[in-house]
């Protein structure tokens, strides 16, 4: 006899959002996690940026990203709590001619997929964001790439889930098969591979939190390619700035690495010189759940466990669509076509 309709393992943004949505559909939900702050959401900058985060050969993922971005306004409105959602758009800037050439190619690729962004020269970039370094050759304006504050989002989801009747259990789950539940959802992020025997690996990421003397005038997210390296600078409403992110294959190690901090600050300060004067408030390190093709595992796995994991760089962006589709699967047994391409059995390549 099951004591709960649904047991969800992992109370990060994904697990908590799935719990909320499932409870809204009348299911009894128990959410297991001894320490949700381990989740990648705490480190994530919260960019909602399908256009400027576009990667070649990830066009299936792009469609899912766009679908989730479109749900964000109503998602945060329904939560009714502060989430730091900011619809100010994004600037992507190039440092040198080669960075600009790469940006132009990506712009052309995005345009061929129907994405809307525009190339601008350095003068226009600085007209939009006067804090940018002089001499930048140009960049891209993506008015529909936004941001949310994942720490506020997680708090809001937790409150909403509790209000909807979700039971929170601060225990470590070691054996999915031992859970007394009608259905089990694995949303354990980077730990999903170990827990569920899945092709999911941890990919370490570091971000920095700075307190700027004066906030970015445009309020826009600034992404930059500096001599081939990518850095992003995400300004919060309160003047804080998140700078990210490293990407390191280091297993479950989460110790901050000095070299990563140096590289992030070097590149961030290159494009926004005044950041050099900011207060360094925090260095955080998290583990992205990486998969073989960088896309999430969504749907029923071989052993019947429902997977909502492997979101890699896009967990925060993909939270609304994941929560909706997984709740539908839990409540009706039906697979929303939007997640159909991300069936867990799609590839035999290990992560």
């Amino acid at each position: 006899m099951s004591t709960t309709d649904v047991a969800i393992v992992g109370a990060g943004v994904i697990g908590t959002a799935v719990a909320w949505r499932a409870a809204q559909r009348g299911l009894t939900v128990t959410l297991f996690d001894p320490d949700p702050t381990r989740g990648a959401w705490r480190t994530a900058a919260g960019m909602l940026a399908p256009i400027t985060e576009l990667h070649y050969a990830e066009s299936a993922l792009l469609r899912l990203n766009l679908a989730s971005l479109a749900r964000y306004p109503s998602f945060v409105e329904e939560l009714g709590l502060p989430t730091g959602y900011r619809a100010n758009g994004t600037l992507e800037v190039a440092w040198d001619a080669a960075d600009l050439a790469a940006l132009r190619d990506l712009h052309a690729f995005g345009t061929s997929l129907g994405l809307s962004s525009r190339l601008v020269d350095g003068a226009e970039l600085r007209a939009i964001e006067p804090g940018l370094a002089p001499g930048l050759p140009g960049g891209l304006v993506a008015d529909s790439d936004h941001q949310v504050d994942p720490r506020l989002l997680h708090a809001a989801l937790t409150t909403a889930a509790r209000a909807a009747g979700v039971r929170f259990v601060a225990e470590e789950v070691r054996d999915l098969g031992a859970l007394a539940a009608g259905q089990v959802v694995l949303a354990a992020g980077a730990w999903s591979g170990v827990l569920g025997g899945l092709p999911v690996r941890p990919v370490k990421g570091q971000t920095l939190r700075l307190r700027a003397l004066s906030p970015l005038a445009s309020g826009r997210v600034v992404r930059a390619s500096v001599k081939g390296s990518t850095v992003y600078i995400v300004p919060r409403e309160n003047g804080d700035v998140v700078v990210g992110a490293s990407s390191e294959e280091a297993g479950f190690d989460v110790t901050p690495r000095a070299g990563a901090v140096y590289e992030l600050l070097r590149d961030a300060q290159t494009v926004l010189p005044e950041l050099g004067e900011a207060e360094l408030v925090e260095v955080s390190t998290g583990l992205r759940p990486g998969t073989a093709d960088n896309a999430p595992l969504l749907g029923r796995g071989e052993d019947g466990v429902i997977l909502a994991t492997g979101h890699y760089r896009n967990g925060v962006l993909l939270t609304p669509v994941t929560a909706d589709a997984i709740a539908t699967l839990l409540a009706t047994g039906e697979t929303d076509p939007v997640i159909a391409p991300f069936t867990p059995s799609r590839t035999a390549v290990p992560a």
Partner: protein, 257 residues
């Protein structure tokens, strides 16, 4: 080319394209480019990790039956490089090593002094050393004298895609080589790889040109074909460059009207 084996340290390979796995956006892409390139030898790096799943790169490579060439990327001194090679030998059960000792982050150019030091130590310790070196014929000669099983001069700095900046030096290295010469680093597109082979290189090692291409698997196919084309052209013998035209149709027996 079955009748034209590429022999390194006594091991015959059919493909003359060595693929670096660095820079690929995902493990799926690594798998695709390994297959599309037809490579039989690919490089990996050694890093600290404590995760159960981080070993999966090796699973992907092993599944395809491809030989692994560990590198010492990131090392700045001979001491670091020797240590990394020792780790790689235990990890991968191979005594082959792509020796890479770079001078600085900005250029990633080989540091010749540290490189020679490390090469000597590793050869004495029983390694089969394939050094990544500057396009310097003298340095290439010294590395061979030490007992390296190949020399791998750069076409241009790592990741630049600037092609072969000093073809003359590459030819000089080839002309006096007693071990295979493998053009390593700087390849941007297929014609660069073909040129390397036309200059007489025995093989080409590349990573970014494929892994960072918009369509990595397609570029891997292009590189495989380019290396084959360049090798055929080298063996076939190109015609000399002339200043004036030399007709290919008969000049005699023109119809008279």
């Amino acid at each position: 080319m079955a009748d034209d084996p590429f022999i390194i340290a006594g091991v015959a390979l059919e493909s003359r394209l060595i693929l670096g796995t660095g820079g690929a956006p995902s493990m799926q892409v690594v798998d695709e480019v390994l297959v599309a390139s037809g490579t039989e030898l690919c490089t990996v790096a050694m890093r600290r990790a404590d995760a159960a799943t981080s070993g999966s790169l090796i699973d992907v490579i092993d599944r395809r039956g491809i030989r692994v060439l560990p590198n010492t990327a990131g090392c700045r001194t001979a001491v670091e490089a020797v240590r990394t090679a020792q780790l790689a030998r235990e990890a991968l059960e191979t005594d082959w090593v792509k020796l890479e000792v770079v001078a600085d982050e900005r250029t990633l150019l080989p540091d010749p002094v540290e490189l020679l030091d490390a090469a000597g130590q590793l050869v004495r310790a029983g390694f089969q050393v394939l050094p990544y070196t500057n396009d310097d014929p003298v340095l290439a000669r010294r590395l061979q004298q030490l007992g390296c099983v190949a020399v791998m001069p750069l076409g241009s700095p790592i990741g630049t895609g600037l092609g072969i900046r000093n073809p003359h030096n590459i030819e000089l290295i080839v002309s006096e080589a007693t071990v295979p010469v493998i053009l390593d680093a700087g390849i941007g597109t297929a014609s660069d790889a073909a040129l390397a082979m036309e200059l007489g290189c025995d093989g080409v090692l590349l990573a970014s040109a494929v892994t960072r291409a918009q369509q990595p698997a397609r570029m891997a196919t292009a590189m495989a074909l380019a290396v084959q084309a360049g090798r055929h052209a080298r063996l076939a013998g190109r015609i000399p460059r002339r200043h004036h035209a030399h007709a290919s149709s008969p000049t005699e027996g023109m119809p008279v009207f």
